[in-house]
């Protein structure tokens, strides 16, 4: 059975800190891994990773995938209060379905 585990479940940091969020998976027929940010409303897309070792970057956020060890990390540097959200990783399988992890709730305090 496909499985996606995120850690930590929740995290509280101060502005300016760097955080690392983890997503480990056991997914048959791996296609890609997606990271989403969910604030008060719907999840919004951050990154899609398909190959090991290639870092994706967007401003202060970056993500990398390790297909050998079956995990991905999402790094946020110089955190701001606007980074407070739930961060979700997800995997599409060949059955046209996406499996989401439990999410990491990040709170950035001033």
């Amino acid at each position: 059975e496909d499985k996606v585990v995120q850690s930590p479940l929740s995290l509280v940091v101060h502005e300016g800190d760097t955080v690392t969020l983890n997503c480990s998976y056991e997914v048959t027929n791996f296609r890609s891994l997606l990271w989403y940010k969910q604030e008060k409303k719907a999840p919004t897309f951050l990154f899609m990773l398909t190959s090991s070792g290639i870092e994706k970057k967007s401003g202060r956020l970056s993500s990398i995938l390790d297909k050998k060890e079956l995990f991905s990390i999402l790094n946020i540097t110089a955190t701001q209060t606007g980074d407070s959200a739930i961060y979700l990783c997800a995997f599409p399988n060949t059955g046209n379905q996406f499996y989401f992890g439990t999410g990491t709730s990040l709170t950035v305090i001033p």
Binding site: S32, Q38, A90, N96, Q97, F98, F100, G103
Partner: protein, 114 residues
Amino acid sequence: DTAVSQTPKYLVTQMGNDKSIKCEQNLGHDTMYWYKQDSKKFLKIMFSYNNKELIINETVPNRFSPKSPDKAHLNLHINSLELGDSAVYFCASSLWTSGKETQYFGPGTRLLVL
């Protein structure tokens, strides 16, 4: 223009009622989805549907039924609503055949069953 839209945004109803939530996407995507997000924020797939196949998560009660009048719409109909159905329901869509299966989410419908 809104890519994935849902109506209504909020739905408050009594137990036992039947209700529908509508979803429309204008992205030309070939696959649409319904998710349920509970109070613990866990996002769980309910259905995925493209013009060929409906895939139902086996844990979804048969009181829930998706209806797709065309490729741009996937509505969710719920019969005999129960207290435990209270949650936020998200519609999403993706272009599965592209090899870049990024999902785009609607704004969500917050359902409260009294």
